[in-house]
């Protein structure tokens, strides 16, 4: 499989493990006295699964397996695929930090970091679709 696919899939596996870790932390809340930021982790938990793992493994496998775009650009523009990777992961990591931090800390900057996280992930989505759409071809 192409190096970029390996990067997407290995990163997605890290998010899967992280999601289970956060899920475990959430179930421990009634039993242990945990820091307040844990209360802001429920949406982070869902998105570690659905964006970090599911979406990222789909992006990686689609980049590898979808019909070739052309002989010159078999997998489309690699710059777009790489942009998808970095925008998605920087955006998601920013969310993982800023969303629970906003629950426990009144600094207004957290809000703007969340906006930035949203914008980066949205751009990652657009880059993925732009690079994938032309590869959805009937045989």
């Amino acid at each position: 499989m192409p190096p970029l696919t390996r990067l997407f899939i290995k990163t997605s596996l890290l998010y899967l493990v992280a999601a289970f870790g956060v899920g475990l932390l959430l179930t421990l809340r009634p039993l242990l006295s945990l820091p307040a930021f844990v209360n802001g982790l429920t949406p982070v938990y869902f998105h570690l699964f659905m964006v970090g793992w599911v979406m990222q493994i789909i992006v990686g496998v689609a980049y590898w397996m979808f019909p070739k775009w052309s002989k010159l650009l078999p997998r489309g523009h690699d710059a777009l695929a790489l942009a998808t990777y970095w925008l998605l992961n920087i955006g998601l990591l920013l969310r993982i930090i800023a969303e629970p931090a906003q629950v426990v800390n009144a600094w207004s900057g957290w809000g703007w970091l969340i906006v930035l996280a949203a914008a980066l992930q949205w751009l990652a989505g657009l880059a993925f679709v732009a690079n994938t759409w032309p590869r959805v071809k009937e045989k």
């Binding site: 789909i58 970091l113 949203a118 914008a119 992930q121 989505g125 071809k137 009937e138």
Partner: protein, 134 residues
């Protein structure tokens, strides 16, 4: 990929853009409140990304790559039926929530979605088989 897979995947990508855009707005609204009505996008965000994107993409790829009989994919009519049923169901569920339609319209949307999934399972079941036939 076959024509039906291309339609499934294209539709899935459209839902992906819509669902991701709604998700981006919802997340941004958590950081810096945009508008009180932004939260009304949440059910559509979930519906579009879980059913419109993820399930539909899985159906498209499954129709393409599951084992065949020589080159034939068996009875493709149920799989073709899945496409309008699933998409009608998704939109009915979303619009019923947004426009406060009567409760039965959302139930109808779920019935369409369930029928879509059952139709696809009907098509795919015999294709889950060894590559080489005995």
């Amino acid at each position: 990929m076959p024509r039906l897979s291309a339609w499934f995947v294209r539709a899935a990508l459209v839902y992906f853009v819509l669902g991701f855009t709604f998700g981006g707005l919802l997340l941004a609204n958590k950081g810096v409140p945009l508008h009180p009505l932004t939260w009304r996008l949440l059910p559509a965000h979930i519906e579009f990304l879980l059913l419109g994107w993820t399930v539909q993409l899985a159906f498209g790829v499954a129709f393409w790559i599951l084992p065949r009989w020589n080159t034939k994919r068996g009875d493709v009519r149920p799989a073709w039926g899945t496409l309008p049923l699933l998409n009608a169901g998704v939109w009915l569920v979303v619009l019923a929530g947004w426009l406060n339609w009567p409760a039965w319209s959302m139930v109808m949307g779920r019935v369409l979605e369930a029928a879509a999934v059952a139709a696809f399972a009907w098509h795919a079941w015999p294709r889950v088989k060894p590559w080489v036939e005995a």
